[in-house]
Amino acid sequence: MERQEILDTMNLVMTNKGREPITEEAVATRDANFRSLDFSEVALRIETKLGRELTFDAAAMRNIETVKDVLDFFEKATA
């Protein structure tokens, strides 16, 4: 999945919760107010969009700190 599409999905989750959309990849997920529940929701939305269940690398998931990490993670998972 394209990086921009993943970011759009993240921002759909953010705006649905009444939060500001994310504009900077370098920002920490904590500072962007992007939480574990939101990460799971993005994963579900991507799976729904692709029509298949994704396999996630648990170790890589634990190392996520920034928005860039999230985008990298889903880019790899959907490749």
């Binding site: 649905n16 574990s36 529940l37 799971s40 929701e41 994963a43 579900l44 939305r45 269940e53």
Partner: protein, 419 residues
């Protein structure tokens, strides 16, 4: 056994009859009941009128019997009947279907076989009798009523209504047509005769969506009963607003426990006072699990208690229903979210007619709640999703807020009138 109220009228999609006429038709069709000697029989019928004919025939002649619609008798279902030594008998053709079964020692004259498909879809045969099905025997006097009967032939709820029409004078029935239940309900409403109805919350939500609101509101209803699934505050409030003069109650009943809890105070759940051990019908809650001790149950432990398998939770002076044991909770990253709570909250939103919350497997959190919703009016889906997410965020814990939304055009209602 109380006397049959032979003159009560029953209206079918294709005509009207009373119990006396139905019995005469049945006797003429089947002849003497000795042809069923030694048999546990289930009559296979095509219409509601045939089902009622079979009911009064079996009752009058003291058979061990039941009734099932023909379209439900698949080879698998026929096999299940045979395993239980049941002979299937074609009502219209007045002949045995397949092989006659010798019930032998298993024969119990007076037994009435109730059918339930439960949540598994697998047909179960629940043994009852007219003594356990007639839960109205404790009601001394009922005002004269004409009931709309929406239930599926052979189900516990259907037998309850049939028992009412059988044994309580002045209780007339107008039968729904399962080919198009909403249309038959609408037609029944147009007669202006319906004064009472027993159904499910899903049935009402379905009706409110599909039938002209002014027609519904004009119905002279004095008695509304609901059961079969969790009755939430939103539907109680909505019906209370539409029918301010009606007595609205919700009833906790199951095929096994019988009708056990009747709530008339307009609130969801039931008062903790019902667990008072001095009451005739026993209600107890152990580790949030509901147990019933009732003369209408068909099985119980040595002390008379039926484990209902339903989970309740005490909140203040009420016990609220939380769903079935083992199927009530969504584990969201170690936090517990309860679908019935979320649905009750959603259903209270003015734009939500019906909702259903389930779990969906998700990475990191394990599961997330997701919702199917029917809106009261057309709306842009993205806007509705944002509005409902915001609404839920205000009243539910963050982990209980549905994360994915599916907006349906109609309420998915099963033959049991549940969703």
């Amino acid at each position: 056994m109380p006397d049959v109220a032979h003159s009560n009228a029953i209206t079918f999609p294709d005509g009207q009859a009373n119990w006396a006429a139905l019995l005469a038709t049945g006797d003429a069709r089947l002849g003497a009941p000795d042809r069923f000697d030694g048999q546990r029989v289930v009559f296979v019928v095509d219409t509601m009128q045939e089902a009622f004919g079979a009911i009064i025939y079996g009752l009058t002649h003291g058979l061990d019997y039941g009734v099932v619609e023909r379209h439900r008798v698949s080879p698998e279902v026929a096999g299940r009947f045979a395993e239980n030594h049941v002979t299937l008998f074609d009502w219209a053709g007045a002949r045995v279907m397949g092989d006659a079964q010798d019930a032998g020692d298993m024969l119990e004259p007076g037994r009435v076989t109730v059918l339930t498909s439960g949540t598994t879809g697998l047909l179960k045969l629940i043994p009852h009798s007219w003594e356990t099905l007639n839960t109205f025997d404790r009601v001394a006097e009922l005002p004269e009523n004409t009931w709309f009967l929406p239930y599926q032939i052979g189900s516990y709820a259907w037998f309850q209504m049939v028992a009412l029409g059988l044994f309580k004078p002045g209780q007339n029935l107008i039968c729904g047509d399962f080919n198009d239940l909403a249309a038959s309900f609408e037609a029944a409403l147009r007669t202006g005769q319906i004064t009472a109805i027993s159904s499910t919350p899903t049935f009402w939500r379905h009706a409110l969506m599909n039938i002209d609101f002014d027609l519904i509101r004009s119905a002279p209803l004095t008695s509304i009963s609901m059961g079969g699934e969790i009755v939430d505050q939103a539907i109680l409030d909505e019906l209370g607003g539409i029918f301010p003069a009606a007595r609205i109650r919700h009833i906790y009943a199951s095929s096994e426990a019988g009708a056990a809890i009747v709530v008339t105070d307009g609130k969801a759940g039931f008062d903790v006072k019902l667990t008072d051990p001095s009451r005739a019908i026993g209600v107890k809650v152990e580790e949030n699990r509901l147990y019933i001790r009732s003369p209408y149950s068909n099985k119980a432990d040595a002390a008379g208690w039926v484990d209902t398998g339903d989970i309740v939770e005490r909140r203040g002076d009420r016990f609220l229903f939380c769903g079935r044991a083992g199927n009530t909770m969504i584990n969201v990253g170690g936090q517990k979210a309860f679908p019935p709570d979320i649905e009750a909250y959603l259903n209270a939103h003015p734009n939500v007619l019906w909702s259903q919350v389930t779990a969906r497997r998700a990475p990191l959190m394990g599961n997330l709640p997701v919702a199917k919703v029917v809106l009261t009016k057309d709306a842009d889906k993205a806007t509705a999703e944002r509005d409902l997410t915001e609404y839920c965020s205000k009243g539910l814990a963050e982990y209980a807020v549905p994360r994915m939304w599916e907006f349906l055009d109609s309420i998915p209602m099963r033959a049991s009138l549940k969703s």
